[in-house]
Each structure stands twice: as C-alpha cells, then as structure tokens.
C-alpha cells in the first residue's frame, strides 16, 4: 500500500521538476487525444444532428447499433485500423502505421460512436418547440439545428469530455497503432503499461496520477468557460 503514497510523491516531483521526458509524453498524449476529439466531433455532431432531426426507416436500430459500439474494446479498434494502414493494407501507401497520426485516427474511431450517440441523446433533451419556432421564424434547417445544438451545449460538451476521457485513457489502440516508440508515439497510457511490465510500479502509478491531473485541468477549464459563455 505504501506504493500509493510514494507514487503520489513521485508524481508531484515529476510535475514540479518538469521532467522533460514526462512533459513530452504528457503533451503528446494531450495533443493526440485532443486531435482525435476535434476530428471526431467534426464528424459526429453534424451526423448525430442529422440522425436526430430526420425520421427514417431503421432509425431506432441505427441508434441501437451506435450505442452498442460504446463497448467496443480498444484493442479491436486498434486491430481494425491496423489492417487498413499497415503497408499490406488498402491505405498502406500513406505510411501511417507507428506514427502519432495513427494513434489519433484509432482514438477518433474509438470515440466516434460515443460522440454520435451522446449528441443524439443531448439533442433529444431539447424541447421540440424550439426547433419548430426557429423554423417558423424563417430559419433554414441548418440554422434550426444550430439553434438546438446551442441549446443543448452543456450535454454536447459533456459528450466531448466523455470522448476525450475515453481517448486519453485507452491503451490498446495506442499500443498497436503507435508501437510505443520512445520519443515519437509513446503516450501516457503506453508508458504506464511499459513501466508496469518493467516492474517500476511506483513510476507507473505516478504517470497515472499525472494523466488524471491533466484530465482535471481540461475539465475545469472547459466547465468554467462553459458557465461564462
């Protein structure tokens, strides 16, 4: 049990002394996962909106399928993307495997169902009357959707935070797609996994604490900003 306390002290020490390797790994984690969230939200929020606002055959089944994919194992996402971007795969010519971009793509695929599904849920929470009144006041459908998304912004941002959380904390896809290359694709979770394998449990735990601290900062900034805006 004393490891926990030691890990906490070591985490503080790593943060205070700005250990260059740890800072580099933490920034890389942040950048990769933030990229994944930005890309995924550009795809998921509009598509989630379209699914919510349109009535079509099989809509319920589609939403059910999207929600089912919340549970997809990160390793499976990693393998799925690996098959595509490995040199022998259809996108092999892009030389993406074992690069930070590959990890970002994997995380993007991983959180796509979550962002899409939670966007749909968020919009469902907004009163239908708002869309009708927007449309009757002469707004285009796109403008009406935008109005409702603004109305549902708390829930949409909660979805983004959730997606970010899943992206930055996953290890399976990052390991398979990035290869845990030191100084290039090593992120916090793969570093934790490596240190655990090496038996450096205290350092591994300390890195975990740093990851949580990073998430805390992001969440606080986002929530403060949301309340002001």
């Amino acid at each position: 049990m004393s490891e926990l306390w030691e890990a906490f002290l070591q985490a503080i020490q790593l943060i205070v002394t700005l250990d260059s390797e740890v800072v580099e790994i933490a920034l890389r984690s942040l950048a990769i996962s933030a990229t994944a969230v930005v890309l995924a939200s550009l795809i998921c929020i509009p598509i989630g909106g379209m699914i919510h606002f349109r009535n079509f055959h099989g809509k319920r089944v589609l939403i059910n399928v999207i929600q089912t994919f919340y549970s997809i194992p990160t390793v499976c996402v990693g393998l799925f993307v690996f098959i595509f971007i490995s040199r022998a795969g259809p996108l092999g010519g892009l030389n993406l495997l074992f690069t930070p971009a590959a990890v970002a793509i994997g995380q993007m695929v991983l959180i796509t169902p979550i962002l899409m599904g939670l966007t749909i849920s968020a919009l469902s929470g907004v009163d239908k009357a708002i869309k009708d009144s927007a449309l009757s006041s002469g707004a285009t459908e796109f403008q009406a959707i935008w109005t409702i998304i603004k109305e549902a912004r708390f829930a949409v941002v909660a979805a983004l935070i959730m997606g970010f959380g899943r992206a930055i904390s996953e290890v399976g896809a990052a390991m398979i797609l990035g290869g845990n290359i030191r100084g290039y694709t090593r992120v916090l979770t793969t570093a934790i996994s490596l240190e655990t394998q090496k038996g450096e449990l205290v350092l591994a735990l300390a890195l975990g604490i740093i990851l949580i601290a990073l998430a805390l900062i992001i969440n606080t900034v986002v929530n403060v900003a949301l309340q002001r805006y």
Partner: protein, 319 residues
C-alpha cells in the same frame, strides 16, 4: 464579454493543439538540426525495426539507439515485439529490419523471401529459474529431465509446482516448446495438463515478475533475468545444456518483396551491429550495473558449441 472569452478560449485550444502537435516531432532532432549550417530543418529519415522483448527489457536498445541515430543521421523507431509478431510486421512491410532469436522461424522467414542478410550479433543462454525451495527438485538436472520432472510434479501437485510459459509465440516460447519435445512430451498435452501450467501471454520481464509472485518455475534468458534480479526472489536452478544456447539475429526486410523497405539503412544497421566497435559495446553492456555482461558478442568466435553461427554468419559484412 462572452464573445471575448469565447475567442480567447478558441485561441487557447488551438494554440495548445499546435504546441502539442509540435511536441510530436521528436525533440532530439532539434538539437542536431540547430547546429547544422542549413536553417531549413529537413525531416530525418525514419528507420523502423521490430526487436525481441528480451533485448528491450534489458535496456540494451536505450543504449544503442542514440549511437546508431547519430552515426547515420536517421530517426530510429523501435517497436518491441516477440519474435512471432516481429516477423509478421516484417511480412506486412511495416518495419525495415527485424531482430529475433528463433532459428527455425528465421529460416522460414528467409525461405518465404521476406528476410535477407541475416547476421548473428549476440548470444546468451537460457536458464530454468524457480523458487529457492525448489519443490519439484530439479536443481542441476539436464534441461530435458528438468522439464519432465516439472510436468510430473506439476500434475501431481499443482498448488506447489507451477510453470509460467510465455505463451506468446516468441523466441523463448519456441525454445520452451523445443525442450518439451526433446523431453519426449507433446506440447498440446502439456497445455491441457492442468492448472500448474500457466500461459501468461506476456513479454520476458512481465513473465519473470509473474513467476516471482506465484513462486513458479519458468524458462528465461539469463540477460533479462540478470536485469530483473533485484526485483526477484527466484534463483537459477538449471543452467547447463546445449539446448539453452540463444542466438540473436538481425535481418533486413527484402526490398524485392516489400518495395518500400529501406534496405540501405538496414544493411548499414546490420554491419554496424557486427562491427568491432559495437561488438565491444555489447560485450561490456551491463558490467557496471550487474557485475557481468548481459550479452556475449559473437565476434571472435567465442561461441563454440553446436548451434553457434559460422564465421561468415557473424562477421561477413552484408551489402
């Protein structure tokens, strides 16, 4: 006011993204780039290799990587993987060279046309390690007899005698299977013979830690064992046997099969590994920390038992 905060926030997010992405570019290039005469920073060529976990867990690559990068002005990406998956990366064209230790699998890889220019650059030995109390009583037996005894005692008394297997198609795992067959036992029978036989599916280091927790026996290479010794209560019990020889090979991926394989750097890399300078480095690595070298260099023909590479296989430069 709200708008200002919104814009500030947007700028903050975007700039943090940019800074972060810049952080993705390996920092080590910055120092050397700033000392060159040309202000334009050319992206360094990336050279990808897959290496067996035992070489990685011992820290040897941490030591060798910067030396090769500096000499050849490349950025080396090292993916650590057991022999099975390392060769698969090679077949798919995802790496330019592989470092493995499983002669049969290497021969296969070469016969398929994927591997060329194999050279052996280091060797060590396997050991059977186990708890000090040695409940199965295998100390100083031959490897084959020790395995036979472990299977007998393990089946009889699975709570006392356990065996942790890598179970991951690595070179060590292949060696383990070979010893089972030389001991006259069918590997599938062993796998199904009860709870004493634990298939971990992990690298060498994690298996050592796991066997340590369980008070189990395992087959380990002496180098990783030495590197982990301070964390272990396990002791070497069986250390003698020709079958324990473990030779590490480097191979280039054949550009005839994989058009983009970087054969020139791969050849430089292989020749560098068998060069006198690096052979000396390998022969002294670990002395300061563990009191003995972790690997034996192949140079000079110090390996003289059956299974050792021929002179050409460890000293003839490739091209």
């Amino acid at each position: 006011m709200r708008k200002i905060i919104f814009y500030l926030l947007t700028i903050l997010v975007l700039s943090s993204l940019l800074i972060g992405l810049a952080g993705c570019v390996p920092t080590s290039t910055d120092e050397s780039a700033s000392t060159t005469e040309f202000p334009v920073v050319a992206a360094k060529e990336r050279f990808k290799i897959a290496t067996t976990t035992s070489l990685y867990d011992t820290g040897l690559w941490y030591y060798l990587e910067p030396m090769f990068e500096e000499k050849n002005n490349v950025e080396m990406d090292i993916v650590y993987a057991g022999t099975g998956i390392a060769l698969e990366y090679g077949r798919r064209g995802d790496v330019d060279a592989v470092i493995v230790h499983d002669r049969a699998a290497e021969d296969n890889f070469i016969a398929e046309g994927y591997g060329i220019n194999r050279r052996y650059f280091a060797y060590n030995f396997f050991i059977i390690a186990g708890p000090q109390s040695d409940p199965a009583g295998i100390k100083d037996m031959s490897p084959e007899d020790a395995f036979k005894k472990l299977a007998e005692e393990g089946k009889k008394n699975p709570d006392e005698v356990k065996f942790v297997s890598r179970g991951d198609s690595s070179g060590t795992h292949s060696k383990e299977k070979l010893i089972w067959s030389r001991a006259g036992l069918n590997y599938e029978d062993i796998q199904q013979s009860g709870s004493w036989y634990v298939e971990a599916g992990k690298g060498m280091g994690p298996c050592l830690l796991m066997a340590n927790e369980e008070g189990a026996y395992l087959l380990a290479d002496i180098s990783t064992f030495s590197a982990y010794k301070s964390k272990l209560d396990l002791v070497p019990l069986v250390e003698q046997g020709e079958i324990f020889l473990n030779v590490y090979a480097a191979m280039a991926v054949n550009p005839d099969k994989i058009a983009k394989a970087k054969i020139q750097i791969a050849n430089n890399f292989i020749n560098w590994l068998i060069s006198d300078e690096i052979q000396q480095v390998i022969g002294t690595y670990g002395v300061a920390e563990y009191g003995r070298p972790l690997f034996n260099p192949t140079a000079g023909g110090s390996c003289q038992i059956p299974g050792c590479p021929t002179v050409d296989e460890y000293s003839k430069p490739v091209q």
